[in-house]
């Protein structure tokens, strides 16, 4: 391999890793909801869109850096998620219907309402947050003068990636070390047993939907400095989260993190070596392959190796 080829390969890996970290954060939110509720939240991308609008308006009106608006958007989305669960999904859970998964269909409706409300209120204009550091980057040759190859590391991408890591670590701490977190996991593992053990299952459901929404809200704030925003953007990210959830093993957080990284790196690799037009194809090849060869997702592999849930 010549130096140029090594450069392309390394640059692709860096890009894939950074993208994968962000994907993971989107995927974890859906995974938590999936784990506890046993439903796929198809309004996931739209929730992210709502958070991005919050970050956008905070920047446009008060010049608040999108990374700081994580502290606003994530709590707001948490409350929105709790509200959705309490007032929309719980009532539907109680109703007997011909369709066993009518809550899933409900989430589709919620997503449509959110997207169309955004179109009504904010028009379908593309928007972005033109922060000063948008195209700032670190260069290998700036630190090592005679480096045979040039690599660059984007500043906003790296910051987003680091924050995603921190949030994931905090989430892990919450789920494994606190009582409430343990109750959430207990509900996910066995609803009836948790109920018998005195866990307030309904509250855990609200909490986990709120948590899932809050996580994707944070992801929205991390995405806006490197991407852009329009009302119809949700669907694409719902799809990505869905693939990651399947790939990671339904309901496993560690699985979702690994699934996100795999998807990010795989997409970048297909983009470089097969062409970027193939990236969506690659995404679905992974999706189908995971369903056929690894129905339990990455989580089932982890369980076999006794690496915990």
């Amino acid at each position: 391999m010549s130096a140029a080829q090594v450069e392309v390969l390394l640059q692709t890996l860096i890009a894939g890793l950074l993208l994968g970290g962000l994907y993971a954060l989107i995927g974890i939110g859906m995974t938590i909801i999936m784990g506890v509720m046993k439903i796929i939240n198809l309004a996931h991308g739209e929730l992210m869109m709502v958070a991005m609008y919050i970050a956008y308006w905070l920047f446009a009106l008060f010049h608040i850096d999108p990374y700081l608006s994580v502290f606003v958007a994530a709590p707001v989305l948490f409350l929105l998620g709790v509200g959705l669960q309490k007032f929309l999904i719980t009532p539907v859970l109680k109703v007997d219907s011909i369709l066993p998964e009518n809550q899933v269909i409900l989430t589709v409706g919620i997503g449509m309402v959110l997207a169309n409300m955004a179109t009504l209120f904010f028009k379908s204009d593309y928007r972005s947050v033109p922060v000063d550091y948008a195209s700032k980057a670190f260069y290998l040759t700036d630190y090592w003068k005679d480096a045979p190859i040039e690599l660059s590391l984007s500043f906003p991408w790296s910051v987003s990636f680091l924050i995603a890591l921190i949030i994931t670590a905090l989430l892990w701490f919450f789920l494994t070390k606190t009582d409430t977190g343990k109750s959430v996991r207990a509900t996910a593992q066995d609803l009836h047993a948790a109920l018998l053990m005195g866990v307030n299952v309904n509250r855990m459901r609200m909490l986990s939907f709120g948590l899932g929404a809050g996580l994707v809200g944070a992801a929205g704030c991390l995405f806006i400095p490197i991407y852009y925003l329009y009302p119809a953007l949700g669907g694409q990210f719902t799809l990505i989260a869905f693939v990651i959830t399947i790939l990671g093993g339904l309901g496993s957080t560690v699985g979702a993190i690994i699934g996100g990284l795999i998807l990010g790196i795989f997409e970048s690799m297909t983009a470089t070596y097969m062409g970027m037009g193939w990236a969506p194809v690659g995404r679905f090849v992974i999706f189908v392959a995971a369903l056929i060869f690894l129905p339990g997702g990455v989580a089932s592999l982890l369980r076999k190796k006794r690496l915990g849930r």
Binding site: Q11, A15, Y126, A134, T272
Partner: protein, 396 residues
């Protein structure tokens, strides 16, 4: 009592007289446009422009004395919905002429319906070459086809940059693909080697993988066919990777919009782009339209706005010259169109494999100090071009 009824009668007569200012019934025209979905931004801009034209026309007595009423149908940028709208407009509403919609794929869907029903259709923005290469008799196109979008840019390349190699990055839509194919042909004709030709799915987040491939190939020119936000992301990531080509060129669409500069910021500096129209261009009515639009909506329109604005005038012109309101007569009048609009000269010709196609000069813009300036052809230039452009490392 008698006096009251007399007053009533008078009022009635008066109202008749007012209505009579527009002889006969008003003329309702239905226009399909993407008003929701990802192309809604352009749909919105065109809607505003059609309305500016409508108000001007109505203020001067309408079309053949009939007041014009415009109705907009949302095609969502989906060809199947555009098709359904076209069928409704032609079969149910019996509208004798149809025009509008935004994307190439939607325009193509409407063109097929119009040709089948023998109703003239004016394509306003759809640029894919084959729309007017199907031997359709009833389909007219006012905008140059994709193959000609870049003709101005090609002459700039040939006379100023003289590149030996080129990399092409394009969106995997109808518009992007045909733009890229044409560039490959033109590059072949002028002896440029195509080193990389890569497409991407619209809405992609990360372009760095293909851009690092482009960087490794080291082309003289990087040519991109993209919509506005992808365009901004591409330039931002090109800056991040410090890819130093001699010239960064965009094929119309996204690169020509003011939002491109707003979003890409300093990464957009010195990028050149082919375009069909700019607010400073010297066609009669162009500047007035641009200023009117800016006054109403706070921003200059892109060429899409000028196309929509002029489209209504082309329709007016054709209907006024037509012998009757029958589709056949309007078609004949359209075919004989020879006028200058705010968008430029319009004349529908059959040549080079096209039918009913308008051929015109295209312009080249360059972002200089954060503004789009016309730099080519020199006779229309508002500023001297900047070439060679500085390397990323030397920019401050």
């Amino acid at each position: 009592m008698k006096r009251f009824s007399l007053v009533m009668a008078l009022a009635f007569l008066l109202s008749l007289a007012v209505a009579g200012a527009y002889a006969a019934e008003p003329l309702t025209l239905i226009i399909p446009l993407p008003l929701t979905g990802s192309q809604a931004k352009f749909g919105e801009m065109e809607k505003r422009s059609y309305e500016i034209a409508k108000d001007e026309i109505n203020a001067k007595g309408g079309i053949k004395g009939r007041k014009v009423i415009l109705e907009f149908e949302d095609s969502q940028g989906k060809p199947e919905i555009s098709r359904a709208i076209a069928e409704k407009v032609i079969d149910v509403k019996k509208q004798p002429v149809i025009f509008g919609d935004y994307s190439s794929s939607s325009s193509k869907a409407i063109a097929a319906v119009a040709e089948e029903r023998k109703v003239p259709y004016l394509v306003v923005t759809g640029a894919a070459d084959d729309i007017t290469q199907q031997k359709y008799k009833y389909v007219f196109r006012m905008n140059p086809s994709n193959a000609y979008y870049a003709s101005g840019l090609m002459s700039f390349l040939k006379e100023v940059v003289k590149p030996k190699s080129i990399a092409i990055v394009y969106e995997s839509s109808d518009f992007g693909t045909s733009g890229a194919e044409d560039m490959v042909k033109q590059a072949g004709r002028s002896g440029m080697k195509v080193l990389v030709k890569e497409k991407y799915e619209k809405g992609a987040v990360d372009f760095k993988p293909i851009l690092s491939k482009v960087k490794a190939a080291n082309p003289d020119v990087i040519y991109m066919v993209s919509y506005v936000m992808d365009a901004a992301l591409l330039m931002r990531q090109i800056k991040e990777l410090r890819i130093d080509a001699k010239l960064f060129a965009g094929g119309a669409a996204g690169f020509a919009l003011p939002e491109f500069v707003d979003n890409a910021k300093d990464a957009s500096e010195y990028v050149v782009t082919a375009t069909l129209w700019s607010p400073q261009v010297k066609y009669p009515g162009a500047k007035e339209f641009a200023e009117k639009y800016k006054k109403l909506y706070g921003d200059y329109p892109s060429y899409h706005g000028a196309e929509a604005y002029s489209a209504l005038y082309i329709i007016k012109n054709a209907i006024e010259r037509a012998k009757s309101m029958k589709p056949e007569d309007i078609r004949a009048a359209m075919k004989a169109t020879n006028m200058t609009t705010a968008f430029g000269p319009v004349k529908f010709e059959d040549k080079e494999g096209y039918q009913n196609q308008n051929f015109m000069d295209t312009l080249v813009l360059q972002v200089i100090k954060g503004n789009h300036e016309t730099i080519w052809p020199l006779k229309y230039a508002s500023q001297k071009y900047v070439y060679p452009i500085p390397k990323w490392r030397e920019r401050r």
